[in-house]
Amino acid sequence: MKVLKIIIFVVLLGSFFTTLLVAINHYTTPIIQKNEELKKKRSVLDVFDISYTKENLEDIFSDNIEVVQKENKEFYLSLSREVAFGIKGSGVWGPIKGIIAFNPDFESIKGITIIHQEETPGLGGRISEEEYLAKFQGKKVFPALKIVPHGKAKAENEVDAITGATMTSKAFEELINNQVGEYLALIKEN
Protein backbone atom coordinates (compact mmCIF):
# COMPACT_ATOMS: atom_id res chain seq x y z
CA MET A 1 0.00 0.00 0.00
CA LYS A 2 2.82 2.33 0.94
CA VAL A 3 4.64 1.53 -2.30
CA LEU A 4 1.50 2.23 -4.28
CA LYS A 5 1.19 5.63 -2.66
CA ILE A 6 4.77 6.47 -3.57
CA ILE A 7 4.25 5.40 -7.17
CA ILE A 8 1.08 7.45 -7.51
CA PHE A 9 2.79 10.49 -6.01
CA VAL A 10 5.80 10.30 -8.31
CA VAL A 11 3.66 9.76 -11.41
CA LEU A 12 1.41 12.71 -10.58
CA LEU A 13 4.35 14.96 -9.81
CA GLY A 14 6.15 13.92 -12.96
CA SER A 15 3.09 14.51 -15.14
CA PHE A 16 2.51 17.93 -13.65
CA PHE A 17 6.06 19.16 -14.27
CA THR A 18 6.23 17.55 -17.70
CA THR A 19 3.09 19.39 -18.73
CA LEU A 20 4.52 22.63 -17.41
CA LEU A 21 7.75 22.15 -19.37
CA VAL A 22 5.97 21.21 -22.57
CA ALA A 23 3.93 24.40 -22.33
CA ILE A 24 7.02 26.55 -21.72
CA ASN A 25 8.85 24.84 -24.55
CA HIS A 26 5.95 25.37 -26.91
CA TYR A 27 5.80 29.05 -26.03
CA THR A 28 9.52 29.86 -26.22
CA THR A 29 10.72 27.74 -29.17
CA PRO A 30 9.59 30.13 -31.93
CA ILE A 31 11.10 33.10 -30.06
CA ILE A 32 14.42 31.33 -29.62
CA GLN A 33 14.57 30.31 -33.28
CA LYS A 34 13.82 33.87 -34.30
CA ASN A 35 16.66 35.12 -32.04
CA GLU A 36 19.13 32.79 -33.72
CA GLU A 37 17.95 33.82 -37.17
CA LEU A 38 18.32 37.51 -36.29
CA LYS A 39 21.75 36.94 -34.86
CA LYS A 40 22.90 35.33 -38.08
CA LYS A 41 21.49 38.17 -40.14
CA ARG A 42 23.16 40.76 -37.90
CA SER A 43 26.51 39.00 -38.26
CA VAL A 44 26.19 38.85 -42.05
CA LEU A 45 25.37 42.57 -42.26
CA ASP A 46 28.22 43.36 -39.86
CA VAL A 47 30.72 41.44 -41.91
CA PHE A 48 29.70 43.32 -45.08
CA ASP A 49 29.87 46.58 -43.11
CA ILE A 50 26.26 47.46 -43.94
CA SER A 51 24.65 49.62 -41.27
CA TYR A 52 21.22 48.80 -39.88
CA THR A 53 19.07 49.53 -36.86
CA LYS A 54 17.18 47.11 -34.67
CA GLU A 55 13.93 47.96 -36.45
CA ASN A 56 14.95 47.74 -40.11
CA LEU A 57 17.32 44.76 -39.78
CA GLU A 58 15.06 42.35 -41.70
CA ASP A 59 14.35 44.79 -44.54
CA ILE A 60 17.99 45.80 -44.97
CA PHE A 61 18.96 42.13 -45.02
CA SER A 62 16.46 41.12 -47.68
CA ASP A 63 17.28 44.21 -49.81
CA ASN A 64 21.04 43.80 -49.72
CA ILE A 65 21.81 40.14 -49.30
CA GLU A 66 21.10 37.22 -51.56
CA VAL A 67 21.21 33.83 -49.86
CA VAL A 68 22.49 31.03 -52.09
CA GLN A 69 22.39 27.34 -51.16
CA LYS A 70 24.93 25.07 -52.79
CA GLU A 71 25.66 21.48 -51.83
CA ASN A 72 24.27 22.09 -48.34
CA LYS A 73 26.46 25.13 -47.90
CA GLU A 74 24.96 28.55 -47.38
CA PHE A 75 26.45 31.59 -49.09
CA TYR A 76 25.53 35.23 -48.68
CA LEU A 77 26.07 37.49 -51.68
CA SER A 78 26.05 41.27 -51.40
CA LEU A 79 24.94 43.63 -54.19
CA SER A 80 28.57 44.37 -55.09
CA ARG A 81 29.31 40.64 -55.61
CA GLU A 82 31.12 40.14 -52.33
CA VAL A 83 30.56 36.74 -50.78
CA ALA A 84 30.32 35.58 -47.17
CA PHE A 85 29.84 32.23 -45.45
CA GLY A 86 30.04 30.63 -42.03
CA ILE A 87 33.22 29.05 -40.69
CA LYS A 88 33.54 26.90 -37.62
CA GLY A 89 36.10 24.78 -35.85
CA SER A 90 37.57 24.10 -32.47
CA GLY A 91 39.45 26.71 -30.50
CA VAL A 92 41.37 26.14 -27.28
CA TRP A 93 38.49 25.70 -24.83
CA GLY A 94 35.51 25.26 -27.12
CA PRO A 95 34.19 25.80 -30.61
CA ILE A 96 34.77 29.02 -32.55
CA LYS A 97 32.06 30.04 -35.00
CA GLY A 98 32.14 33.02 -37.26
CA ILE A 99 31.33 34.50 -40.65
CA ILE A 100 34.00 35.44 -43.15
CA ALA A 101 33.46 37.73 -46.15
CA PHE A 102 35.54 38.01 -49.29
CA ASN A 103 35.95 40.80 -51.81
CA PRO A 104 34.72 40.12 -55.38
CA ASP A 105 38.17 38.75 -56.27
CA PHE A 106 37.26 35.75 -54.03
CA GLU A 107 40.74 35.86 -52.62
CA SER A 108 41.17 38.75 -50.20
CA ILE A 109 39.25 39.00 -46.95
CA LYS A 110 36.68 41.75 -46.61
CA GLY A 111 35.94 41.08 -42.97
CA ILE A 112 35.37 38.49 -40.25
CA THR A 113 32.89 38.45 -37.40
CA ILE A 114 32.85 35.95 -34.56
CA ILE A 115 29.47 34.57 -33.53
CA HIS A 116 30.63 32.26 -30.79
CA GLN A 117 33.89 31.60 -28.94
CA GLU A 118 34.91 30.32 -25.54
CA GLU A 119 38.55 31.38 -25.53
CA THR A 120 40.38 32.68 -22.44
CA PRO A 121 38.87 36.06 -21.53
CA GLY A 122 41.32 38.90 -22.09
CA LEU A 123 43.73 36.70 -24.07
CA GLY A 124 42.33 34.43 -26.77
CA GLY A 125 38.92 35.96 -26.09
CA ARG A 126 40.14 39.12 -27.82
CA ILE A 127 39.65 37.22 -31.05
CA SER A 128 36.11 38.59 -31.21
CA GLU A 129 37.19 42.22 -30.80
CA GLU A 130 36.71 44.42 -33.84
CA GLU A 131 40.17 45.98 -33.53
CA TYR A 132 41.78 42.58 -33.85
CA LEU A 133 39.55 41.30 -36.64
CA ALA A 134 40.22 44.49 -38.61
CA LYS A 135 43.78 43.24 -39.12
CA PHE A 136 42.44 40.57 -41.46
CA GLN A 137 40.95 43.05 -43.90
CA GLY A 138 42.52 42.83 -47.35
CA LYS A 139 44.65 39.83 -46.45
CA LYS A 140 44.84 37.01 -49.01
CA VAL A 141 44.02 33.42 -48.10
CA PHE A 142 46.00 31.90 -50.99
CA PRO A 143 48.26 30.00 -50.90
CA ALA A 144 47.45 30.01 -47.17
CA LEU A 145 46.74 32.55 -44.47
CA LYS A 146 49.54 32.76 -41.92
CA ILE A 147 49.21 34.13 -38.41
CA VAL A 148 52.71 35.24 -37.36
CA PRO A 149 54.07 36.54 -34.03
CA HIS A 150 52.84 40.01 -33.13
CA GLY A 151 54.46 42.79 -35.17
CA LYS A 152 55.97 40.46 -37.77
CA ALA A 153 53.17 40.52 -40.37
CA LYS A 154 54.49 41.87 -43.68
CA ALA A 155 53.35 39.80 -46.67
CA GLU A 156 49.79 40.08 -47.89
CA ASN A 157 48.87 36.69 -46.48
CA GLU A 158 50.26 37.37 -43.00
CA VAL A 159 48.37 38.60 -39.95
CA ASP A 160 49.66 39.43 -36.45
CA ALA A 161 48.81 36.92 -33.73
CA ILE A 162 47.22 37.94 -30.44
CA THR A 163 49.98 38.46 -27.87
CA GLY A 164 49.82 35.75 -25.22
CA ALA A 165 47.33 33.66 -27.15
CA THR A 166 49.43 31.52 -29.46
CA MET A 167 47.11 28.51 -29.24
CA THR A 168 44.02 30.48 -30.14
CA SER A 169 45.82 32.19 -33.02
CA LYS A 170 47.04 28.84 -34.32
CA ALA A 171 43.56 27.32 -34.05
CA PHE A 172 42.00 30.28 -35.83
CA GLU A 173 44.52 30.09 -38.65
CA GLU A 174 43.81 26.40 -39.18
CA LEU A 175 40.08 26.92 -39.02
CA ILE A 176 40.18 29.54 -41.78
CA ASN A 177 42.59 27.68 -44.03
CA ASN A 178 40.70 24.39 -43.70
CA GLN A 179 37.42 25.76 -44.94
CA VAL A 180 37.79 28.74 -47.24
CA GLY A 181 39.33 26.81 -50.12
CA GLU A 182 36.41 24.46 -50.53
CA TYR A 183 33.80 27.20 -50.14
CA LEU A 184 35.50 29.61 -52.53
CA ALA A 185 35.93 26.89 -55.19
CA LEU A 186 32.21 26.15 -54.99
CA ILE A 187 31.11 29.75 -55.34
CA LYS A 188 33.57 30.46 -58.17
CA GLU A 189 31.74 27.93 -60.35
CA ASN A 190 28.74 30.24 -60.25
Partner: protein
Protein backbone atom coordinates in the same frame (compact mmCIF):
# COMPACT_ATOMS: atom_id res chain seq x y z
CA UNK B 1 1.38 53.34 7.67
CA UNK B 2 4.25 53.38 10.15
CA UNK B 3 2.36 50.86 12.21
CA UNK B 4 2.03 48.57 9.24
CA UNK B 5 5.73 48.74 8.55
CA UNK B 6 6.48 47.96 12.19
CA UNK B 7 4.14 45.02 12.01
CA UNK B 8 5.82 43.82 8.85
CA UNK B 9 9.25 44.13 10.44
CA UNK B 10 8.12 42.05 13.40
CA UNK B 11 6.45 39.39 11.26
CA UNK B 12 8.17 36.03 11.17
CA UNK B 13 8.39 35.97 7.38
CA UNK B 14 10.45 39.12 7.34
CA UNK B 15 12.79 37.84 10.04
CA UNK B 16 13.24 34.63 8.09
CA UNK B 17 14.24 36.67 5.06
CA UNK B 18 16.75 38.79 6.99
CA UNK B 19 18.41 35.70 8.39
CA UNK B 20 19.06 34.53 4.84
CA UNK B 21 20.50 37.91 3.94
CA UNK B 22 23.06 38.06 6.70
CA UNK B 23 23.31 35.56 9.56
CA UNK B 24 22.71 32.48 7.42
CA UNK B 25 24.03 33.97 4.21
CA UNK B 26 24.54 30.98 1.92
CA UNK B 27 27.92 32.01 0.60
CA UNK B 28 29.88 33.30 3.56
CA UNK B 29 28.21 31.48 6.43
CA UNK B 30 27.18 28.16 4.97
CA UNK B 31 29.80 28.23 2.19
CA UNK B 32 27.30 26.89 -0.31
CA UNK B 33 27.06 27.87 -3.96
CA UNK B 34 30.75 28.70 -4.15
CA UNK B 35 31.31 26.93 -7.47
CA UNK B 36 28.86 29.06 -9.42
CA UNK B 37 29.99 32.08 -7.43
CA UNK B 38 33.47 31.60 -8.82
CA UNK B 39 32.40 30.85 -12.34
CA UNK B 40 30.07 33.67 -13.30
CA UNK B 41 31.43 36.63 -11.35
CA UNK B 42 33.81 38.03 -13.96
CA UNK B 43 31.14 40.51 -15.07
CA UNK B 44 28.48 42.23 -12.96
CA UNK B 45 25.83 41.60 -15.60
CA UNK B 46 26.42 37.84 -15.45
CA UNK B 47 26.35 37.88 -11.65
CA UNK B 48 22.98 39.65 -11.63
CA UNK B 49 21.52 37.19 -14.13
CA UNK B 50 22.81 34.22 -12.17
CA UNK B 51 21.56 35.68 -8.88
CA UNK B 52 18.12 36.33 -10.34
CA UNK B 53 17.97 32.82 -11.78
CA UNK B 54 18.92 31.17 -8.50
CA UNK B 55 16.51 33.37 -6.52
CA UNK B 56 13.66 32.48 -8.86
CA UNK B 57 14.37 28.76 -8.58
CA UNK B 58 14.72 29.03 -4.78
CA UNK B 59 11.37 30.78 -4.34
CA UNK B 60 9.42 28.43 -6.58
CA UNK B 61 11.07 25.30 -5.24
CA UNK B 62 10.20 26.51 -1.74
CA UNK B 63 6.61 27.10 -2.84
CA UNK B 64 6.30 23.64 -4.38
CA UNK B 65 7.99 21.70 -1.61
CA UNK B 66 6.24 23.61 1.15
CA UNK B 67 2.83 23.12 -0.47
CA UNK B 68 3.45 19.40 -0.85
CA UNK B 69 5.25 18.91 2.46
CA UNK B 70 2.46 16.83 4.01
CA UNK B 71 2.12 14.59 0.96
CA UNK B 72 5.71 13.88 0.00
CA UNK B 73 6.57 10.30 1.00
CA UNK B 74 9.84 10.46 2.98
CA UNK B 75 11.53 7.87 0.80
CA UNK B 76 11.19 9.85 -2.41
CA UNK B 77 11.62 13.35 -1.03
CA UNK B 78 15.04 13.96 -2.60
CA UNK B 79 13.70 12.93 -6.01
CA UNK B 80 10.78 15.26 -5.50
CA UNK B 81 13.16 18.15 -4.82
CA UNK B 82 15.21 17.27 -7.89
CA UNK B 83 12.20 17.15 -10.19
CA UNK B 84 10.96 20.51 -8.97
CA UNK B 85 14.39 22.15 -9.09
CA UNK B 86 15.24 20.75 -12.53
CA UNK B 87 11.92 21.94 -13.97
CA UNK B 88 12.33 25.48 -12.69
CA UNK B 89 15.91 25.63 -13.92
CA UNK B 90 14.80 24.60 -17.41
CA UNK B 91 12.17 27.34 -17.28
CA UNK B 92 14.84 29.93 -16.36
CA UNK B 93 17.08 28.67 -19.15
CA UNK B 94 14.36 28.86 -21.81
CA UNK B 95 13.31 32.28 -20.57
CA UNK B 96 16.87 33.63 -20.87
CA UNK B 97 17.30 32.10 -24.32
CA UNK B 98 14.09 33.71 -25.50
CA UNK B 99 14.38 37.15 -23.94
CA UNK B 100 18.02 37.71 -22.94
CA UNK B 101 20.04 35.75 -25.52
CA UNK B 102 23.19 37.83 -24.95
CA UNK B 103 23.33 37.06 -21.23
CA UNK B 104 22.40 33.42 -21.89
CA UNK B 105 25.37 33.18 -24.20
CA UNK B 106 27.73 34.67 -21.62
CA UNK B 107 26.75 32.42 -18.71
CA UNK B 108 25.64 29.56 -20.97
CA UNK B 109 26.35 26.20 -19.32
CA UNK B 110 26.16 27.63 -15.79
CA UNK B 111 22.42 28.16 -16.06
CA UNK B 112 21.90 24.42 -16.31
CA UNK B 113 24.22 23.97 -13.38
CA UNK B 114 21.84 25.89 -11.11
CA UNK B 115 20.31 22.43 -10.69
CA UNK B 116 23.39 21.30 -8.82
CA UNK B 117 23.59 24.45 -6.71
CA UNK B 118 23.57 23.01 -3.22
CA UNK B 119 21.84 26.09 -1.76
CA UNK B 120 18.54 25.11 -3.38
CA UNK B 121 18.56 21.49 -2.35
CA UNK B 122 19.77 22.53 1.10
CA UNK B 123 16.96 25.04 1.70
CA UNK B 124 14.34 22.60 0.39
CA UNK B 125 15.44 19.93 2.85
CA UNK B 126 16.27 22.19 5.80
CA UNK B 127 13.46 24.73 5.61
CA UNK B 128 10.73 24.33 2.97
CA UNK B 129 9.92 20.73 3.91
CA UNK B 130 9.10 21.80 7.48
CA UNK B 131 7.60 25.29 7.26
CA UNK B 132 4.49 26.93 5.86
CA UNK B 133 4.35 28.32 2.35
CA UNK B 134 4.77 32.06 3.04
CA UNK B 135 7.74 31.54 5.36
CA UNK B 136 9.36 29.13 2.95
CA UNK B 137 9.03 31.58 0.09
CA UNK B 138 10.44 34.41 2.22
CA UNK B 139 13.32 32.13 3.16
CA UNK B 140 13.92 31.42 -0.53
CA UNK B 141 13.86 35.13 -1.29
CA UNK B 142 16.23 35.99 1.57
CA UNK B 143 18.74 33.27 0.77
CA UNK B 144 18.49 34.10 -2.95
CA UNK B 145 19.14 37.78 -2.38
CA UNK B 146 21.94 36.94 0.04
CA UNK B 147 23.53 34.83 -2.66
CA UNK B 148 22.94 37.49 -5.34
CA UNK B 149 24.46 40.44 -3.53
CA UNK B 150 27.53 38.39 -2.64
CA UNK B 151 27.98 37.51 -6.30
CA UNK B 152 27.50 41.13 -7.34
CA UNK B 153 30.09 42.41 -4.83
CA UNK B 154 32.66 39.90 -6.07
CA UNK B 155 31.78 40.75 -9.67
CA UNK B 156 32.20 44.49 -9.07
CA UNK B 157 35.75 43.92 -7.84
CA UNK B 158 36.59 41.49 -10.63
CA UNK B 159 35.06 43.45 -13.49
CA UNK B 160 36.57 46.78 -12.46
CA UNK B 161 40.06 45.30 -12.07
CA UNK B 162 39.87 42.77 -14.88
CA UNK B 163 38.11 44.80 -17.58
CA UNK B 164 38.25 48.36 -16.20
CA UNK B 165 34.46 48.59 -16.40
CA UNK B 166 31.34 48.09 -14.27
CA UNK B 167 28.25 46.91 -16.14
CA UNK B 168 30.09 47.89 -19.32
CA UNK B 169 30.75 51.49 -18.23
CA UNK B 170 34.38 52.55 -18.05
CA UNK B 171 35.37 53.26 -14.43
CA UNK B 172 39.14 53.07 -14.61
CA UNK B 173 41.39 55.86 -16.00
CA UNK B 174 42.61 55.56 -19.59
CA UNK B 175 46.08 54.35 -18.69
CA UNK B 176 44.64 51.42 -16.70
CA UNK B 177 46.10 48.01 -17.48
CA UNK B 178 43.50 45.25 -17.12
CA UNK B 179 44.41 42.53 -14.66
CA UNK B 180 43.70 39.58 -16.89
CA UNK B 181 43.94 37.25 -13.92
CA UNK B 182 40.87 38.87 -12.36
CA UNK B 183 38.81 37.95 -15.42
CA UNK B 184 39.90 34.32 -15.10
CA UNK B 185 39.07 31.73 -12.45
CA UNK B 186 42.13 32.25 -10.20
CA UNK B 187 41.11 35.88 -9.65
CA UNK B 188 37.77 34.66 -8.34
CA UNK B 189 39.48 32.55 -5.69
CA UNK B 190 41.49 35.51 -4.42
CA UNK B 191 38.52 37.89 -4.28
CA UNK B 192 36.26 35.29 -2.67
CA UNK B 193 38.84 34.44 0.02
CA UNK B 194 39.36 38.10 0.90
CA UNK B 195 35.61 38.64 0.90
CA UNK B 196 35.06 35.64 3.22
CA UNK B 197 37.78 36.88 5.55
CA UNK B 198 36.24 40.35 5.83
CA UNK B 199 32.59 39.31 6.13
CA UNK B 200 33.21 36.46 8.54
CA UNK B 201 35.19 38.79 10.77
CA UNK B 202 32.39 41.37 10.73
CA UNK B 203 29.68 38.76 11.24
CA UNK B 204 31.70 37.18 14.04
CA UNK B 205 31.49 33.71 12.55
CA UNK B 206 34.02 31.45 14.18
CA UNK B 207 34.96 27.92 13.37
CA UNK B 208 34.02 25.54 16.15
CA UNK B 209 37.30 23.94 17.03
Amino acid sequence: MAKNIKKLLRAKGFKVMMIGLWRDNPVFCMLLGICSGLAVTNKVENAIAMGAGVTFVLIFTALTISALRNFIPARVRIITYMIAIASFVIIVDRFLQAFYPVIREAIGPYVGLIITNCIIMGRAEAFASKNKITHSMMDGLGVGLGYSYTLVIIAIVRESLGFGTILGFRVMPDGWTNWVMMAMAPGAFFVLSIYLWITRTIAGVESKE
